[in-house]
Assembly symmetry: none
Homo-oligomer: 248 residues x 2
DNA sequence: TTTTAATGTGCGTGTTTTTGCGTGTTATTG
DNA sequence: CAATAACACGCAAAAACACGCACATTAAAA
Protein backbone atom coordinates (compact mmCIF):
# COMPACT_ATOMS: atom_id res chain seq x y z
CA UNK A 1 0.00 0.00 0.00
CA UNK A 2 1.28 3.42 -0.98
CA UNK A 3 1.92 6.04 1.63
CA UNK A 4 -0.58 8.40 0.09
CA UNK A 5 -3.20 5.68 0.24
CA UNK A 6 -2.46 5.17 3.90
CA UNK A 7 -2.85 8.88 4.51
CA UNK A 8 -6.15 8.87 2.65
CA UNK A 9 -7.30 5.91 4.70
CA UNK A 10 -6.40 7.63 7.94
CA UNK A 11 -8.15 10.84 6.92
CA UNK A 12 -11.18 8.83 5.95
CA UNK A 13 -11.26 7.21 9.37
CA UNK A 14 -10.84 10.60 10.97
CA UNK A 15 -13.67 12.13 9.00
CA UNK A 16 -15.88 9.19 9.81
CA UNK A 17 -15.24 8.74 13.50
CA UNK A 18 -13.64 12.02 14.48
CA UNK A 19 -10.79 10.02 15.98
CA UNK A 20 -8.39 7.14 15.38
CA UNK A 21 -6.28 4.99 17.64
CA UNK A 22 -2.70 4.30 16.65
CA UNK A 23 -3.12 0.67 17.60
CA UNK A 24 -6.20 0.28 15.42
CA UNK A 25 -4.39 1.72 12.43
CA UNK A 26 -1.46 -0.62 12.99
CA UNK A 27 -3.84 -3.56 12.75
CA UNK A 28 -5.95 -2.26 9.91
CA UNK A 29 -3.06 -1.20 7.73
CA UNK A 30 -0.65 -3.90 8.81
CA UNK A 31 2.38 -1.68 9.31
CA UNK A 32 4.54 -0.84 12.32
CA UNK A 33 3.61 1.65 14.98
CA UNK A 34 6.43 3.90 13.90
CA UNK A 35 5.04 4.17 10.41
CA UNK A 36 1.65 5.14 11.73
CA UNK A 37 3.19 7.69 14.05
CA UNK A 38 5.17 9.16 11.19
CA UNK A 39 2.05 9.25 9.04
CA UNK A 40 0.14 11.05 11.76
CA UNK A 41 3.00 13.51 12.21
CA UNK A 42 3.03 14.26 8.50
CA UNK A 43 -0.72 14.82 8.50
CA UNK A 44 -0.26 17.16 11.45
CA UNK A 45 2.36 19.05 9.42
CA UNK A 46 -0.21 19.37 6.67
CA UNK A 47 -2.60 20.71 9.26
CA UNK A 48 -5.13 17.98 8.59
CA UNK A 49 -5.59 16.53 12.04
CA UNK A 50 -4.80 16.89 15.69
CA UNK A 51 -2.43 14.45 17.34
CA UNK A 52 -2.92 13.18 20.87
CA UNK A 53 -1.47 10.46 23.07
CA UNK A 54 -2.75 7.18 21.64
CA UNK A 55 -3.98 8.41 18.29
CA UNK A 56 -5.37 11.49 16.61
CA UNK A 57 -8.49 13.60 16.49
CA UNK A 58 -10.32 15.42 13.75
CA UNK A 59 -9.44 19.09 13.55
CA UNK A 60 -13.04 20.12 13.04
CA UNK A 61 -14.07 17.94 15.92
CA UNK A 62 -13.30 20.44 18.62
CA UNK A 63 -14.76 23.43 16.86
CA UNK A 64 -18.03 21.73 16.06
CA UNK A 65 -18.17 19.86 19.33
CA UNK A 66 -21.25 21.62 20.55
CA UNK A 67 -23.95 19.94 18.52
CA UNK A 68 -25.83 20.30 21.75
CA UNK A 69 -29.00 21.00 19.81
CA UNK A 70 -29.98 17.52 20.92
CA UNK A 71 -32.35 17.90 23.83
CA UNK A 72 -31.12 16.37 27.10
CA UNK A 73 -28.03 15.10 25.36
CA UNK A 74 -26.19 14.26 28.57
CA UNK A 75 -29.01 12.05 29.74
CA UNK A 76 -29.17 10.30 26.43
CA UNK A 77 -25.46 9.58 26.46
CA UNK A 78 -25.82 8.14 29.94
CA UNK A 79 -28.60 5.90 28.68
CA UNK A 80 -26.53 4.90 25.69
CA UNK A 81 -23.64 3.82 27.86
CA UNK A 82 -25.88 1.52 29.83
CA UNK A 83 -27.56 0.12 26.75
CA UNK A 84 -24.42 -0.91 24.91
CA UNK A 85 -23.72 -3.42 27.66
CA UNK A 86 -26.60 -5.46 26.28
CA UNK A 87 -25.03 -5.74 22.84
CA UNK A 88 -22.63 -8.62 22.37
CA UNK A 89 -20.56 -9.79 19.43
CA UNK A 90 -22.53 -11.71 16.85
CA UNK A 91 -25.93 -10.38 17.86
CA UNK A 92 -28.73 -9.39 15.55
CA UNK A 93 -30.10 -6.09 16.79
CA UNK A 94 -33.15 -4.17 15.67
CA UNK A 95 -33.33 -0.45 16.36
CA UNK A 96 -35.90 2.27 15.98
CA UNK A 97 -35.10 5.92 15.45
CA UNK A 98 -34.78 8.95 17.64
CA UNK A 99 -31.95 10.91 19.14
CA UNK A 100 -31.43 8.53 22.04
CA UNK A 101 -30.70 5.62 19.74
CA UNK A 102 -28.47 7.87 17.68
CA UNK A 103 -26.38 8.80 20.71
CA UNK A 104 -26.14 5.14 21.63
CA UNK A 105 -24.83 4.21 18.20
CA UNK A 106 -22.11 6.83 18.46
CA UNK A 107 -20.94 5.16 21.66
CA UNK A 108 -20.60 1.63 20.28
CA UNK A 109 -17.13 0.08 20.61
CA UNK A 110 -15.09 0.18 17.42
CA UNK A 111 -14.47 -3.51 17.19
CA UNK A 112 -18.07 -4.64 17.63
CA UNK A 113 -19.12 -7.26 15.13
CA UNK A 114 -22.88 -7.51 14.77
CA UNK A 115 -25.87 -7.19 12.45
CA UNK A 116 -28.19 -4.22 12.81
CA UNK A 117 -31.62 -3.80 11.31
CA UNK A 118 -32.98 -0.30 11.53
CA UNK A 119 -35.92 1.76 10.34
CA UNK A 120 -33.98 5.01 10.76
CA UNK A 121 -31.84 6.35 7.91
CA UNK A 122 -29.81 8.46 10.28
CA UNK A 123 -29.06 5.50 12.48
CA UNK A 124 -28.06 3.52 9.40
CA UNK A 125 -25.62 6.20 8.31
CA UNK A 126 -24.11 6.33 11.76
CA UNK A 127 -23.85 2.54 12.02
CA UNK A 128 -22.11 2.42 8.65
CA UNK A 129 -19.08 4.03 10.25
CA UNK A 130 -18.29 0.76 11.98
CA UNK A 131 -16.33 -1.64 9.83
CA UNK A 132 -17.59 -4.85 11.38
CA UNK A 133 -21.26 -4.03 11.61
CA UNK A 134 -23.60 -5.14 8.87
CA UNK A 135 -26.39 -2.64 8.39
CA UNK A 136 -29.77 -3.43 6.88
CA UNK A 137 -32.08 -0.51 6.40
CA UNK A 138 -35.74 -1.43 6.36
CA UNK A 139 -37.40 0.52 3.59
CA UNK A 140 -40.85 1.96 3.07
CA UNK A 141 -42.73 5.21 3.37
CA UNK A 142 -40.60 7.81 5.08
CA UNK A 143 -42.13 9.75 7.92
CA UNK A 144 -41.37 13.46 7.92
CA UNK A 145 -42.08 13.78 11.63
CA UNK A 146 -40.28 10.89 13.20
CA UNK A 147 -37.65 10.39 10.48
CA UNK A 148 -38.21 6.66 10.25
CA UNK A 149 -39.74 4.41 7.66
CA UNK A 150 -43.23 3.11 8.36
CA UNK A 151 -46.27 1.58 6.73
CA UNK A 152 -47.33 -1.82 5.56
CA UNK A 153 -44.14 -2.64 3.75
CA UNK A 154 -42.05 -2.02 6.84
CA UNK A 155 -44.28 -4.22 8.95
CA UNK A 156 -44.14 -7.00 6.38
CA UNK A 157 -40.37 -6.89 6.36
CA UNK A 158 -40.20 -6.81 10.14
CA UNK A 159 -42.28 -9.97 10.30
CA UNK A 160 -39.51 -11.78 8.45
CA UNK A 161 -36.80 -10.80 10.92
CA UNK A 162 -35.69 -12.64 14.02
CA UNK A 163 -33.65 -10.32 16.23
CA UNK A 164 -31.87 -11.03 19.51
CA UNK A 165 -32.49 -7.59 20.85
CA UNK A 166 -34.69 -4.66 19.98
CA UNK A 167 -33.63 -1.16 21.04
CA UNK A 168 -36.54 1.22 21.11
CA UNK A 169 -36.92 4.84 21.98
CA UNK A 170 -40.12 5.81 23.67
CA UNK A 171 -42.81 8.45 23.68
CA UNK A 172 -44.26 7.45 27.02
CA UNK A 173 -44.12 4.67 29.56
CA UNK A 174 -46.34 3.99 32.54
CA UNK A 175 -46.15 1.21 35.15
CA UNK A 176 -49.76 0.20 34.63
CA UNK A 177 -50.52 1.29 31.10
CA UNK A 178 -47.24 0.06 29.65
CA UNK A 179 -45.87 1.53 26.47
CA UNK A 180 -48.15 3.95 24.70
CA UNK A 181 -48.04 6.23 21.69
CA UNK A 182 -50.05 8.92 19.94
CA UNK A 183 -49.94 7.94 16.30
CA UNK A 184 -51.53 4.86 14.86
CA UNK A 185 -48.76 4.17 12.39
CA UNK A 186 -46.01 4.42 14.98
CA UNK A 187 -48.03 2.27 17.28
CA UNK A 188 -48.35 -0.49 14.69
CA UNK A 189 -44.67 -0.17 13.93
CA UNK A 190 -43.61 -0.66 17.52
CA UNK A 191 -45.86 -3.66 17.91
CA UNK A 192 -44.22 -5.24 14.90
CA UNK A 193 -40.76 -4.49 16.27
CA UNK A 194 -41.56 -6.02 19.61
CA UNK A 195 -42.94 -9.11 17.95
CA UNK A 196 -39.78 -9.94 16.07
CA UNK A 197 -37.21 -9.59 18.85
CA UNK A 198 -36.45 -12.07 21.62
CA UNK A 199 -35.97 -9.25 24.08
CA UNK A 200 -36.69 -5.57 23.96
CA UNK A 201 -34.92 -2.72 25.70
CA UNK A 202 -36.78 0.54 26.08
CA UNK A 203 -34.60 3.64 26.23
CA UNK A 204 -36.35 6.36 28.12
CA UNK A 205 -35.29 9.66 29.63
CA UNK A 206 -36.81 10.08 33.05
CA UNK A 207 -39.22 12.82 32.10
CA UNK A 208 -41.15 10.37 29.94
CA UNK A 209 -41.78 8.06 32.85
CA UNK A 210 -45.30 7.69 34.24
CA UNK A 211 -47.01 9.05 31.16
CA UNK A 212 -49.76 7.27 29.26
CA UNK A 213 -50.86 8.29 25.79
CA UNK A 214 -53.82 7.32 23.69
CA UNK A 215 -52.73 4.12 22.02
CA UNK A 216 -51.37 1.08 23.81
CA UNK A 217 -48.32 -0.57 22.25
CA UNK A 218 -47.79 -3.29 24.83
CA UNK A 219 -48.07 -3.99 28.54
CA UNK A 220 -45.05 -3.37 30.68
CA UNK A 221 -44.45 -7.11 30.98
CA UNK A 222 -43.58 -7.39 27.30
CA UNK A 223 -40.46 -5.34 27.86
CA UNK A 224 -37.21 -6.92 29.02
CA UNK A 225 -35.16 -3.89 29.95
CA UNK A 226 -35.97 -0.35 30.94
CA UNK A 227 -33.01 1.97 30.60
CA UNK A 228 -33.07 5.49 31.99
CA UNK A 229 -30.38 7.95 32.97
CA UNK A 230 -31.37 7.58 36.62
CA UNK A 231 -29.55 5.60 39.26
CA UNK A 232 -30.98 2.16 39.72
CA UNK A 233 -32.10 3.05 43.23
CA UNK A 234 -33.97 6.18 42.25
CA UNK A 235 -37.46 6.39 43.67
CA UNK A 236 -39.07 7.09 40.29
CA UNK A 237 -38.25 3.53 39.34
CA UNK A 238 -39.93 1.81 42.30
CA UNK A 239 -43.20 1.21 40.52
CA UNK A 240 -41.36 -0.36 37.59
CA UNK A 241 -39.22 -2.63 39.72
CA UNK A 242 -42.32 -4.33 40.95
CA UNK A 243 -42.92 -5.66 37.46
CA UNK A 244 -40.85 -8.35 35.79
CA UNK A 245 -38.46 -5.91 34.27
CA UNK A 246 -34.73 -5.36 34.37
CA UNK A 247 -33.85 -1.81 35.26
CA UNK A 248 -30.49 -0.53 34.09
CA UNK B 1 5.43 -1.73 -27.83
CA UNK B 2 5.20 1.92 -28.66
CA UNK B 3 5.39 4.61 -26.05
CA UNK B 4 1.88 5.79 -26.80
CA UNK B 5 0.57 2.27 -26.32
CA UNK B 6 2.26 2.10 -22.94
CA UNK B 7 0.75 5.41 -21.94
CA UNK B 8 -2.69 4.22 -22.94
CA UNK B 9 -2.16 1.02 -21.01
CA UNK B 10 -1.11 2.93 -17.92
CA UNK B 11 -4.08 5.28 -18.13
CA UNK B 12 -6.39 2.34 -18.53
CA UNK B 13 -4.96 0.75 -15.41
CA UNK B 14 -5.37 4.02 -13.56
CA UNK B 15 -8.98 4.42 -14.62
CA UNK B 16 -9.70 0.84 -13.70
CA UNK B 17 -8.02 0.63 -10.32
CA UNK B 18 -7.38 4.23 -9.35
CA UNK B 19 -3.73 3.33 -8.78
CA UNK B 20 -0.71 1.67 -10.29
CA UNK B 21 2.57 0.47 -8.84
CA UNK B 22 5.76 1.15 -10.75
CA UNK B 23 6.92 -2.40 -10.08
CA UNK B 24 3.71 -3.87 -11.48
CA UNK B 25 4.03 -1.88 -14.66
CA UNK B 26 7.63 -2.99 -15.08
CA UNK B 27 6.46 -6.58 -15.02
CA UNK B 28 3.33 -6.12 -17.11
CA UNK B 29 4.98 -4.06 -19.83
CA UNK B 30 8.37 -5.73 -19.66
CA UNK B 31 10.41 -2.55 -19.74
CA UNK B 32 12.88 -1.03 -17.32
CA UNK B 33 11.91 0.95 -14.26
CA UNK B 34 13.37 4.08 -15.79
CA UNK B 35 11.06 3.85 -18.76
CA UNK B 36 8.04 3.51 -16.52
CA UNK B 37 9.18 6.42 -14.42
CA UNK B 38 9.66 8.53 -17.49
CA UNK B 39 6.23 7.52 -18.74
CA UNK B 40 4.64 8.47 -15.46
CA UNK B 41 6.47 11.78 -15.45
CA UNK B 42 5.20 12.54 -18.93
CA UNK B 43 1.64 11.68 -17.93
CA UNK B 44 2.03 13.99 -14.97
CA UNK B 45 3.15 16.74 -17.34
CA UNK B 46 0.00 16.11 -19.34
CA UNK B 47 -1.94 16.44 -16.11
CA UNK B 48 -3.43 12.98 -16.43
CA UNK B 49 -2.42 11.41 -13.16
CA UNK B 50 -0.83 11.99 -9.79
CA UNK B 51 2.60 10.59 -9.05
CA UNK B 52 3.63 9.26 -5.66
CA UNK B 53 6.55 7.29 -4.28
CA UNK B 54 6.04 3.77 -5.56
CA UNK B 55 3.59 4.43 -8.34
CA UNK B 56 0.79 6.79 -9.29
CA UNK B 57 -2.81 7.56 -8.39
CA UNK B 58 -5.80 8.68 -10.37
CA UNK B 59 -6.25 12.44 -10.42
CA UNK B 60 -9.99 12.27 -9.91
CA UNK B 61 -9.62 9.83 -7.09
CA UNK B 62 -11.07 11.16 -3.88
CA UNK B 63 -11.49 8.44 -1.37
CA UNK B 64 -13.08 10.40 1.40
CA UNK B 65 -16.86 10.59 1.40
CA UNK B 66 -16.66 13.71 3.50
CA UNK B 67 -19.91 15.55 3.92
CA UNK B 68 -18.47 18.67 5.49
CA UNK B 69 -16.43 19.54 2.46
CA UNK B 70 -18.20 18.32 -0.64
CA UNK B 71 -15.76 17.98 -3.46
CA UNK B 72 -16.43 20.30 -6.44
CA UNK B 73 -19.51 21.62 -4.71
CA UNK B 74 -19.95 24.56 -7.06
CA UNK B 75 -20.06 22.29 -10.07
CA UNK B 76 -22.55 20.03 -8.39
CA UNK B 77 -24.86 22.93 -7.61
CA UNK B 78 -24.67 24.03 -11.24
CA UNK B 79 -25.63 20.51 -12.28
CA UNK B 80 -28.47 20.46 -9.78
CA UNK B 81 -29.94 23.67 -11.16
CA UNK B 82 -30.05 22.20 -14.62
CA UNK B 83 -31.50 18.91 -13.44
CA UNK B 84 -34.46 20.29 -11.52
CA UNK B 85 -35.88 21.59 -14.79
CA UNK B 86 -36.67 18.00 -15.64
CA UNK B 87 -38.83 17.51 -12.57
CA UNK B 88 -42.49 18.47 -12.92
CA UNK B 89 -45.44 18.39 -10.55
CA UNK B 90 -46.98 14.99 -10.11
CA UNK B 91 -43.96 13.06 -11.29
CA UNK B 92 -42.66 9.85 -9.83
CA UNK B 93 -38.91 10.24 -9.53
CA UNK B 94 -36.30 7.65 -8.62
CA UNK B 95 -32.92 8.82 -7.32
CA UNK B 96 -29.64 7.24 -6.45
CA UNK B 97 -27.20 8.55 -3.87
CA UNK B 98 -24.11 10.69 -3.94
CA UNK B 99 -23.29 14.26 -3.19
CA UNK B 100 -24.49 15.55 -6.56
CA UNK B 101 -28.00 14.25 -6.00
CA UNK B 102 -27.93 15.64 -2.50
CA UNK B 103 -27.11 19.12 -3.75
CA UNK B 104 -29.89 18.81 -6.29
CA UNK B 105 -32.44 17.94 -3.63
CA UNK B 106 -31.49 21.00 -1.62
CA UNK B 107 -32.31 23.12 -4.67
CA UNK B 108 -35.82 21.79 -5.29
CA UNK B 109 -38.60 24.40 -5.27
CA UNK B 110 -40.58 24.43 -2.03
CA UNK B 111 -43.97 23.95 -3.61
CA UNK B 112 -43.06 20.92 -5.67
CA UNK B 113 -45.55 18.11 -5.35
CA UNK B 114 -44.12 14.75 -6.35
CA UNK B 115 -43.29 11.22 -5.28
CA UNK B 116 -39.67 10.30 -4.77
CA UNK B 117 -38.25 6.82 -4.47
CA UNK B 118 -34.67 6.72 -3.28
CA UNK B 119 -32.00 4.26 -2.21
CA UNK B 120 -30.12 6.93 -0.26
CA UNK B 121 -30.99 7.59 3.39
CA UNK B 122 -29.38 10.99 3.24
CA UNK B 123 -31.42 11.96 0.23
CA UNK B 124 -34.55 10.70 1.99
CA UNK B 125 -33.87 12.86 5.03
CA UNK B 126 -33.30 15.88 2.82
CA UNK B 127 -36.43 15.22 0.78
CA UNK B 128 -38.48 14.93 3.95
CA UNK B 129 -38.06 18.67 4.43
CA UNK B 130 -40.50 19.29 1.57
CA UNK B 131 -44.12 19.11 2.66
CA UNK B 132 -45.60 18.08 -0.66
CA UNK B 133 -43.13 15.42 -1.55
CA UNK B 134 -43.89 11.83 -0.66
CA UNK B 135 -40.72 9.96 0.14
CA UNK B 136 -40.30 6.22 -0.14
CA UNK B 137 -36.98 4.84 1.01
CA UNK B 138 -36.06 1.57 -0.64
CA UNK B 139 -34.57 -0.67 2.02
CA UNK B 140 -31.95 -3.38 2.02
CA UNK B 141 -28.31 -3.91 2.84
CA UNK B 142 -26.60 -0.61 3.46
CA UNK B 143 -23.31 0.08 1.71
CA UNK B 144 -20.62 1.68 3.84
CA UNK B 145 -18.81 3.05 0.82
CA UNK B 146 -21.51 4.54 -1.32
CA UNK B 147 -24.03 5.20 1.44
CA UNK B 148 -26.93 3.65 -0.41
CA UNK B 149 -28.95 0.49 0.01
CA UNK B 150 -28.15 -2.35 -2.35
CA UNK B 151 -28.51 -6.07 -2.83
CA UNK B 152 -31.21 -8.44 -3.97
CA UNK B 153 -33.98 -6.96 -1.91
CA UNK B 154 -33.41 -3.51 -3.35
CA UNK B 155 -33.45 -4.84 -6.88
CA UNK B 156 -36.66 -6.76 -6.23
CA UNK B 157 -38.34 -3.63 -4.95
CA UNK B 158 -37.06 -1.57 -7.84
CA UNK B 159 -38.61 -4.03 -10.26
CA UNK B 160 -42.03 -3.17 -8.85
CA UNK B 161 -41.64 0.55 -9.43
CA UNK B 162 -42.56 2.52 -12.52
CA UNK B 163 -40.87 5.92 -12.42
CA UNK B 164 -41.14 8.82 -14.83
CA UNK B 165 -37.57 9.90 -14.31
CA UNK B 166 -34.46 8.43 -12.80
CA UNK B 167 -31.74 10.73 -11.50
CA UNK B 168 -28.42 8.99 -11.25
CA UNK B 169 -24.98 10.06 -10.19
CA UNK B 170 -22.09 8.51 -12.03
CA UNK B 171 -18.67 7.00 -11.46
CA UNK B 172 -17.61 7.23 -15.07
CA UNK B 173 -19.04 7.86 -18.50
CA UNK B 174 -17.49 7.34 -21.90
CA UNK B 175 -18.91 8.05 -25.38
CA UNK B 176 -18.18 4.53 -26.62
CA UNK B 177 -18.19 2.46 -23.46
CA UNK B 178 -21.27 4.14 -21.98
CA UNK B 179 -21.88 4.10 -18.24
CA UNK B 180 -19.43 1.99 -16.28
CA UNK B 181 -18.68 1.20 -12.67
CA UNK B 182 -16.15 -0.58 -10.52
CA UNK B 183 -18.29 -2.62 -8.16
CA UNK B 184 -20.56 -5.46 -9.14
CA UNK B 185 -23.29 -4.62 -6.67
CA UNK B 186 -23.50 -0.98 -7.72
CA UNK B 187 -23.46 -2.08 -11.31
CA UNK B 188 -26.46 -4.36 -10.78
CA UNK B 189 -28.20 -1.63 -8.85
CA UNK B 190 -27.85 0.92 -11.61
CA UNK B 191 -29.10 -1.53 -14.18
CA UNK B 192 -32.21 -2.11 -12.11
CA UNK B 193 -32.75 1.61 -11.68
CA UNK B 194 -32.46 2.22 -15.40
CA UNK B 195 -34.92 -0.55 -16.12
CA UNK B 196 -37.72 0.89 -14.02
CA UNK B 197 -37.68 4.48 -15.27
CA UNK B 198 -39.08 5.85 -18.49
CA UNK B 199 -36.17 8.21 -18.86
CA UNK B 200 -32.85 8.53 -17.09
CA UNK B 201 -30.77 11.59 -16.43
CA UNK B 202 -27.10 11.10 -15.63
CA UNK B 203 -25.54 13.76 -13.43
CA UNK B 204 -21.84 13.97 -14.06
CA UNK B 205 -19.13 16.44 -13.16
CA UNK B 206 -16.86 16.99 -16.12
CA UNK B 207 -13.82 15.26 -14.71
CA UNK B 208 -15.69 11.96 -14.87
CA UNK B 209 -16.24 12.29 -18.59
CA UNK B 210 -14.34 10.02 -20.95
CA UNK B 211 -13.50 7.44 -18.31
CA UNK B 212 -14.30 3.76 -18.63
CA UNK B 213 -14.23 1.45 -15.64
CA UNK B 214 -14.37 -2.29 -15.39
CA UNK B 215 -18.08 -3.07 -15.47
CA UNK B 216 -20.56 -1.89 -18.08
CA UNK B 217 -23.87 -0.56 -16.76
CA UNK B 218 -25.44 0.43 -20.07
CA UNK B 219 -24.56 1.85 -23.47
CA UNK B 220 -24.75 5.58 -23.90
CA UNK B 221 -27.96 5.23 -25.91
CA UNK B 222 -29.89 4.02 -22.85
CA UNK B 223 -29.50 7.41 -21.26
CA UNK B 224 -31.91 10.24 -21.98
CA UNK B 225 -30.09 13.20 -20.50
CA UNK B 226 -26.49 13.96 -19.69
CA UNK B 227 -26.10 16.82 -17.26
CA UNK B 228 -22.72 18.37 -16.54
CA UNK B 229 -21.61 21.73 -15.21
CA UNK B 230 -20.14 22.61 -18.60
CA UNK B 231 -21.66 24.90 -21.17
CA UNK B 232 -23.62 23.04 -23.79
CA UNK B 233 -21.13 24.08 -26.47
CA UNK B 234 -18.05 22.86 -24.63
CA UNK B 235 -15.75 20.73 -26.75
CA UNK B 236 -15.62 17.92 -24.19
CA UNK B 237 -19.25 17.21 -25.03
CA UNK B 238 -18.82 16.84 -28.81
CA UNK B 239 -18.42 13.09 -28.72
CA UNK B 240 -21.57 12.77 -26.64
CA UNK B 241 -23.65 15.01 -28.86
CA UNK B 242 -23.14 12.61 -31.71
CA UNK B 243 -25.19 10.04 -29.81
CA UNK B 244 -28.92 10.22 -29.26
CA UNK B 245 -28.63 12.07 -26.05
CA UNK B 246 -29.92 15.35 -24.64
CA UNK B 247 -27.13 17.45 -23.21
CA UNK B 248 -28.06 19.96 -20.55
C1' DT C 1 21.86 5.25 -50.32
C1' DT C 2 24.17 7.71 -46.83
C1' DT C 3 24.18 11.18 -43.37
C1' DT C 4 22.36 13.58 -39.67
C1' DA C 5 19.35 14.63 -36.14
C1' DA C 6 15.93 13.36 -32.96
C1' DT C 7 13.97 10.39 -30.05
C1' DG C 8 13.49 6.28 -27.12
C1' DT C 9 15.53 2.92 -24.06
C1' DG C 10 18.59 0.54 -20.71
C1' DC C 11 22.44 0.68 -17.46
C1' DG C 12 25.59 2.47 -13.89
C1' DT C 13 26.03 5.48 -10.15
C1' DG C 14 24.83 8.10 -6.41
C1' DT C 15 20.84 10.15 -3.79
C1' DT C 16 16.51 10.18 -1.43
C1' DT C 17 12.55 7.98 0.72
C1' DT C 18 10.52 4.67 3.32
C1' DT C 19 10.38 1.53 6.86
C1' DG C 20 11.29 -1.47 10.94
C1' DC C 21 14.03 -2.07 15.03
C1' DG C 22 16.59 -0.93 19.21
C1' DT C 23 17.11 2.28 22.81
C1' DG C 24 15.78 5.35 26.13
C1' DT C 25 12.11 8.77 27.49
C1' DT C 26 7.56 10.41 28.62
C1' DA C 27 2.41 9.67 29.70
C1' DT C 28 -1.11 7.24 31.70
C1' DT C 29 -3.27 4.35 35.06
C1' DG C 30 -4.35 1.89 39.18
C1' DC D 1 5.03 5.33 42.74
C1' DA D 2 5.44 1.47 39.96
C1' DA D 3 3.85 -1.02 35.85
C1' DT D 4 2.39 -0.51 31.41
C1' DA D 5 1.67 1.64 27.20
C1' DA D 6 2.79 5.18 24.04
C1' DC D 7 6.27 7.93 22.36
C1' DA D 8 10.69 10.15 20.09
C1' DC D 9 15.11 9.58 18.16
C1' DG D 10 18.75 7.63 15.58
C1' DC D 11 20.34 4.03 12.68
C1' DA D 12 20.53 0.83 8.89
C1' DA D 13 18.69 -1.89 5.10
C1' DA D 14 15.93 -1.95 1.28
C1' DA D 15 13.39 0.11 -2.09
C1' DA D 16 12.47 3.79 -5.13
C1' DC D 17 14.33 7.51 -7.36
C1' DA D 18 17.05 10.98 -10.53
C1' DC D 19 20.69 11.90 -13.57
C1' DG D 20 24.06 11.31 -17.07
C1' DC D 21 25.62 8.59 -20.68
C1' DA D 22 25.78 5.10 -24.27
C1' DC D 23 23.46 2.62 -27.62
C1' DA D 24 19.55 1.62 -30.60
C1' DT D 25 15.91 2.91 -33.54
C1' DT D 26 13.60 5.93 -36.53
C1' DA D 27 12.92 9.55 -39.80
C1' DA D 28 14.07 13.19 -42.43
C1' DA D 29 17.80 15.57 -45.12
C1' DA D 30 21.72 15.33 -48.15
Amino acid sequence: MLKKERHDFIMRQINLHNRVLTSDLVQLLNVSEDTIRRDLQELVDENLLYKVHGGALSKSYHSSFDDSTVYARESKIAIGKKAIQLIKDGMVVLTGGGTTILELVKLLPQGLSATFFTISPLVAVELAKYNNIEVILIGGLFSKNSQVTYGGQVITQLSEIKADLCLMGTSAIHPDEGLTDTYWEINQLKKAMLACAKRTAVLCISEKLDIALRLRVCPIESISYLITELDNAHESLFRYKEKELNIL
